[in-house]
């Protein structure tokens, strides 16, 4: 008997249960990674700078994220008198939500098969497979700007405003570069759906059958330039350290989150790490074959995500912050022309190849 894909039409109750389980698991794993990424970051950067990092709370400081959470939760929540109240309260939520929503379209494993009531069902390990998956992710990345811009604007403080202005200019420029750099992926895979892109990467490398069959057609091999551009542009878009001008401590106190305290401040931090996880997951799906690899489905995927997270932390410990004009020059004069050139070259290559 051929298995059917579990959907709302053939088994509504089962579909709803599977959906709920997928959402809860994806959300709690994401939150767990977010909490412990802070610990890993402090440990790794500590080691790289010949320090220990957190050691006091629990075994090797493992309880540190929980202690931080409790501390921030019990701090006084201050809303400045001069702030625009509604926007001030909404801003931290608007920065966290898009990062979490974007995870909904990422496939984290192969199809899972199970039998119920004599019928074999196939459950895709993905919360929803949108036909426009990648566009959805780009749209959510576009909405991520609002949180930072509003935080800067609503706080009614000079440092916050400067941080917000920097953030909006920087994120618009690098969003463009990130979007242009992944256009080549659609050219090669001929689909926008993320599960389709993962499926397209499981064929033999470059269609050459003489190569050993365990090397799969991951797009990092055909598009190394696009991969580099995407990773750099995404790091700039989520304001990770070489590009963290919106919250440059040495110039702007703390940038757009200067006026925030308590859980609202914690939300900004959670959003930063959630964005890191999302970007890692997107990069792994688009360029490294998603859940494809030597181990069982989601284990491969988690390994790739952790690899990217480590890379981001490593970069933070290594590079100094860019100057603002250098940042803009790199965005508009280097990354965007390179991405456009890459599109032209790939288009010609695809035309000749077919």
């Amino acid at each position: 008997m051929t298995p059917e894909v579990l959907s709302l039409s053939n088994a509504p109750a089962l579909w709803a249960a599977a959906m709920l389980v997928k959402i809860i698991v994806a959300f709690s794993v994401l939150m767990g990674i977010v909490a412990y990424a802070t610990w890993v970051e402090r440990k790794v950067i500590g080691r790289m700078q010949s320090r220990f990092g957190p050691t006091m709370t629990g075994y090797k400081g493992l309880l540190q994220p929980i202690a931080d959470g409790i501390k921030l939760f019990f701090k006084e929540d201050i809303i400045p008198n001069e702030a625009s109240k509604f926007a001030f309260v909404v801003a931290p939520m608007m920065i966290l939500a898009p990062a979490l929503i974007a995870m909904a379209v990422i496939p984290f494993g192969g199809d899972y098969q199970f039998t119920f009531g004599g019928v074999t069902y196939l459950v895709p390990m993905q919360i929803t497979d949108l036909n426009i998956g990648v566009l959805f992710i780009l749209a959510m990345a576009g909405l991520g700007v609002y949180g930072i811009v509003l935080a800067g604007l609503a706080s009614n403080s000079k440092y916050s405003l400067l941080g917000g202005i920097r953030a909006s200019a920087q994120m618009i420029s690098y969003e463009l570069a990130a979007g242009l750099s992944i256009v080549v992926i659609f050219m090669l895979s001929e689909t926008l759906s993320l599960s389709g892109i993962v499926a397209a990467q499981q064929e033999v490398l470059w269609g050459i059958t003489a190569l050993p069959s365990w090397i799969h057609n991951w797009y990092i091999f055909s598009q190394p330039l696009a991969f580099g551009l995407f990773v750099i542009a995404s790091m700039a878009e989520i304001n990770r350290t070489p590009f963290d001008l919106p919250e440059a401590e040495t110039e702007l106190v703390s940038g757009f989150c200067t006026e925030y305290s308590s859980m609202k401040y914690a939300l900004f931090f959670m959003a930063e790490y959630a964005n890191m996880v999302t970007i890692s997951a997107i990069a792994a799906t688009l360029f490294l074959g998603g859940w494809d690899g030597p181990f069982f489905g989601w284990i491969n995927f988690l390994i790739k995500v952790f690899g990217f997270m480590f890379f981001f932390i490593w970069v933070r410990a290594t590079f100094p912050r860019l100057r603002y004009d250098q940042l803009m020059q790199m965005g508009w004069k280097v990354m965007i022309p390179l991405a456009l050139g890459n599109i032209v070259v790939t288009a010609v290559a695809v035309l000749l190849w077919n």
Binding site: I132, G142, L161
Partner: protein
């Protein structure tokens, strides 16, 4: 189910559009406009046009509104507050009621013929909305597409010339 969702999002869209004009600080107006755009995107999805929905969020909510907020920030209008009542509100209200009336008259003028075009819900499900739009844009409507891109290019060159300083 679908119609409940439609009424929910239509109501939110209308109320947030109303608050765009009513909100007293420009930041809140901009936020309400973003809400309206997102509701429109949801309505596009209900009309089987997911590509339009994604583009609506990317272009209108993600780019154009961010630029508007950027201008609000640069002009430092963040704390400016409008006067509570103005006559403009009354005129605006009158015009929108009139528009509603005219639209209603035009919509109810004829009978439905029941004719179906080439693109139906079934074709969209078979081929995908993005593919259909791409095909139409690069074959049938290629000339208007190219004209639009030249128009945009002219606008970009114009903006660069206007803002360029003498070197």
């Amino acid at each position: 189910m679908l119609s409940i969702l439609f009424y929910l999002f239509a109501t939110v869209a209308i109320f947030s559009a109303f608050y765009v004009t009513k909100a007293r600080s420009p930041v809140n107006s901009a936020l309400c406009l973003v809400t309206t755009f997102i509701c429109f995107a949801v309505l596009y999805i209900m009309l089987d046009a997911p590509f339009m929905a994604a583009i609506q969020i990317m272009v209108y909510a993600g780019a154009i509104m961010v630029l508007i907020i950027f201008v609000i920030m640069l002009l430092n209008l963040g704390t400016a507050i409008k006067k509570r009542y103005t006559h403009a509100l009354v005129w605006g209200g009158g015009v929108s009621v009139l528009m509603l009336f005219i639209t209603n008259v035009f919509i109810r003028r004829g009978e439905m013929s029941g004719k179906v075009g080439d693109v139906t819900t079934q074709t969209i499900h078979n081929y995908g909305h993005t593919e259909l739009i791409g095909k139409a844009m690069f074959t049938e409507f290629l000339l208007p597409f190219e004209i639009a891109s030249i128009l945009l290019l002219v606008a970009i060159v114009g903006a660069v010339i206007l803002s360029k300083r003498e070197v």
